[in-house]
Amino acid sequence: MSSDATTATTGAAAGAPVPALDGPAQEAPAHGIGASLSPADARAKTEGTFPYASDLWAEGLLWAAILRSPHPHARILSIDTTAAAEMPGVRAVVTHADVPGEPAYGRTVADRPVFASELVRHHGESIAAVAADHPDTARLAAAAIAVEYEILEPVTDPEKAFAAEPLHPDGNLIRHIPLRFGDEGATGEVVVEGLYRIGRQDPAPIGAEAGLAVPRPDGGVEIYTASTDPHTDRDLAAACFGLPPDQVKVVVTGVPGATGDREDPGFQIPLGLLALRTGCPVKLTATREESFLGHAHRHPTLLRYRHHADAEGRLVKVEAQILLDAGAYADASSESLAAAVSFACGPYVVPHAFVEGWAVRTNNPPSGHVRGEGAMQVCAAYEAQMDKLALKLGLDPAELRLRNVLATGDILPTGQTVTCPAPVAELLAAVRDFPLPALPLDTPEEDWLLPGGPEGAGEPGAVRRGVGYALGMVHMLGAEGADEVSTATVKVQDGVATVLCAAVETGSGFSTLARQIVQEILGLEEVHVASVDTDQPPAGPATHGRHTWVSGGAVERAAKMVRTQLLQPLAHKFGMSTELLQITDGKITSYDGILSMTVAEAMDGKELWATAQCRPHPTEPLDDSGQGDAFVGLAFCAVRAVVDVDIELGSVRVVEMAVAQDVGRILNPAQLNARIEAGITQGVGAALTENLRTARGLIRHPDLTGYALPTSLDAPDIRIVKLVEERDVVAPFGAKPASAVPVVTAPAAVASAVRAATGRPVNRLPIRAQAAVGVPNS
């Protein structure tokens, strides 16, 4: 398997070079669909003048600090806030006894206390909060709260959670899905097995959590924060405040990085409580440590697999057991598990599949929604299995995969038929046929290209190159019957359009897409996107690429309604239908070009408004054998990784990632490429360095020194080899969301390449150096 540095090019088919999508092949439009429009706030963000939540200020504001548990599992015997409350400058101290409404909250089930009352279930759980006139006073006061604990044995091994004492009244099993598809007795001629472990990736947003809560004269409160799901956050917060939802308003500030849920109610609710208590604005800026302790992580996962195939390498049966460590609270674990179980076989045709999945409670840090959750963990495992099968059958790994790939019309193990475009074979062929990168020259000038990097210890003689493949899939939009709806309003006045939609711009590019959609339909160049708050109708969470689809669809419909309102009187006047009129460059022209009028004239000082909703076709929950049409749409991607490994030190450098992705339709080429590159880089982080380590439930290094994100030197060359534009007929504009699937696929591809370079099994992510130390002289 291990390809020696001099023979590493053998895997490349000598096909003609595929042009990468670098240079513009044709004249790109300046605006509308297909334009590389840049975000309206790009300049302010680059120059550092964009106000994030941590930059907000209000007259007379107080500073909040949260007291967090130093233990992963303990009984609270007493909480004494007297000393803290008496400190000069302290204005309020709140604990579980001061929560006027619901004592607990949660996105799926309300199982998470606002403040721990009897038990703490994870390191960093909130116990009390303080508001004071100086951030240091608040922190010192929080530290002065005397909490007496009876330390309990933490449950940190998810395998032991089944038999352990319940950590929560709801029990330790959050969800179990036994997927049964086909004939259990089926067997293949070749069988491979494996046990895989995936670590705890953290979303590690560049801007840590921050917020400002301002009490209102009517007894309500406004919370300014970088929420990615403002309406849900508002409803959860209002329930805990004991207020009707319309008395709580969440105003979304700029989002400084989000690849998962952000600013979860765990930060917002204490903040709002303190503002209501003191009658003053209260601000909270989390430290990096608090950020790591407070937000949700990717589920650490344990996976056991057995693949059966026939002698030609066609899959016969897949058996798998998937165990997700949910941490102490349910959060989004149920959906992560559904994705993990449903995609446990990957984008391959599998006639028989038996997959058991569990999500269990432990005293480890809480897990939740992080881009590509569930799908990323299983991808690493099923692709490792495909490599094992290829090795056992003596087949080329890409060829083995090609023999099994899924296509439109095939049936997933959940019984759902793939109705959307699924050009998996085309994607794989594109990355396989792309020319391999050149080997570095053995000169001092290229020393920095060795694993270990510049000033590293890399030695050319110990470096082996490996090439690996992975295919990944994700679902788009919420699954299993989630009501995926978004509402948008488009307004046109004086030739300027404004979009009002509560879809949060997380950096995913939605607000730019919304501008482009309106430009395309209304032919107006100047389009603004209003900032988001909960006075607008809900648009749902900014996850699973939903907003490209549902909010984009709502914006499209609203813009079309405005267009009709604008053109109807003219059509009547010109004596032709509205379809025969077109709007370009602020001018309305008839099909034959004879009649024309500027938009401003046609508007005649009027204001046009329209509001529309987009609600994709409904889905259904997986039943008790894991069957059901649970997903609205699927997206696919193929990645070929090329790595250099120093087989003595086990240091890995990812040389190149070649990506081919199924995108439906390219709405904004520059933004699409950026999203894919970001996803691949996050995936490389998960493959090599990103793991929030714990010891007996305690987070060991909650900082960016201990938690190693990829730097610019770690980010590989990313070649976007092919973007397949096969429009998904049910999606607005036929476009598929693009951010998640590269994250899912990249780690598996890196692992596959390290396997090829070292001849080692590589069954754990991130790949530890000792697992990448090669077999000597091989």
Binding site: G456, L688, T711, S712, Q770
Partner: protein, 280 residues
């Protein structure tokens, strides 16, 4: 915060306010302050003391100012003098850190992963310490081992390093390609005048470790009057000797855990590569 313009003023300021903490680049100190781990009663800023920002020559030694930044030490003119220290300085974190962080700060912080420390240990550098009672010199190993601590009012002013005019190598293994703390580092310096090879291993223990027996053994094999080359087997044996000295086998039948075994292999590979490069 006071900003003295000379070492004498700095010593006077520290003596007047013993609870104050001297700060140079602040890359470690201010991070601890920001995290709330440290709340110094006062700060004595060393940034304006020009006499510790450069170096001078003194009977075969270089007297390095404690305020030399890592960026400055990484430049070619410095690398021609003390190549291993320059290599360590270049490997010490991202440019922002190297621009601010100083040699003296790296020593006084004494973090196990301080990149300059194994180099200074291998060079057997001495620290010139100034205090209210005058100037004294202490070997760096004494400070790092806690045998001789800085007294109140004292600060590290200079570092005296021998100029050996021979190859020196610093190698560092990390967990990622971009700047990161060392998982293990090795400095190897040749001292042809004394026919010695000196080696120090950093990051695997609270202070740099010197495998003295391995040094003596390998120095006895080197042909100092000729090409100084060694057979690959000798280099490998040196690497393993160094690694076994720094990470000894546990007593009895116990096995080292896999992560520690990997660390030992890493030290062996680094030591072998470092000596090989120094002798090539």
């Amino acid at each position: 915060m006071t900003l003295p313009a000379s070492l004498d003023e700095a010593v006077a300021a520290l003596t007047a306010m013993p609870a104050a903490v001297p700060v140079a680049g602040g890359t470690d100190l201010m991070a601890a302050v920001n995290k709330g781990h440290l709340r110094p009663a006062g700060l004595v800023g060393l940034g304006r003391i020009n006499e510790i920002r450069g170096w001078q020559y003194q009977d075969g030694h270089a007297l390095l100012g404690a305020g030399l930044t890592h960026s400055r030490m990484g430049r070619p003119d410095f690398a021609a003098l003390i190549p291993a220290l320059a290599a360590a300085a270049r490997a010490a974190g991202p440019p922002q850190i190297r621009n601010a962080g100083t040699l003296g700060g790296n020593i006084v912080t004494a973090a196990p992963t301080g990149d300059s420390l194994p180099v200074l240990a291998a060079l057997e550098a001495d620290l010139v310490v100034m205090g209210p009672l005058g100037t004294r010199e202490i070997p760096i190993s004494h400070l790092l081992a806690g045998r001789d601590l800085l007294a109140p009012g004292e600060l590290v002013a200079f570092v005296r390093v021998p100029l050996l005019h021979a190859p020196q190598v610093f190698l560092k293994a990390t967990g990622r390609t971009g700047p990161a703390r060392a998982t293990a580092s090795v400095a190897v310096v040749l001292d042809p005048a004394r026919r010695g090879v000196r080696c120090a291993v950093g990051a695997i223990a609270p202070m740099p470790l010197r495998p003295l027996e391995a040094e003596h053994w390998i120095a006895s094999l080197v042909d100092w009057d000729a090409e100084r080359g060694l057979a690959p087997e000798a280099l490998t044996a040196f690497g393993e000797y160094v690694a076994a000295a720094c990470i000894p086998d546990p007593p009895g039948d116990e096995q080292l855990p896999p992560a520690v075994l990997h660390l030992r292999r890493t030290v062996a590979a680094l030591a072998r590569r470092a000596l090989g490069r120094a002798l090539s």
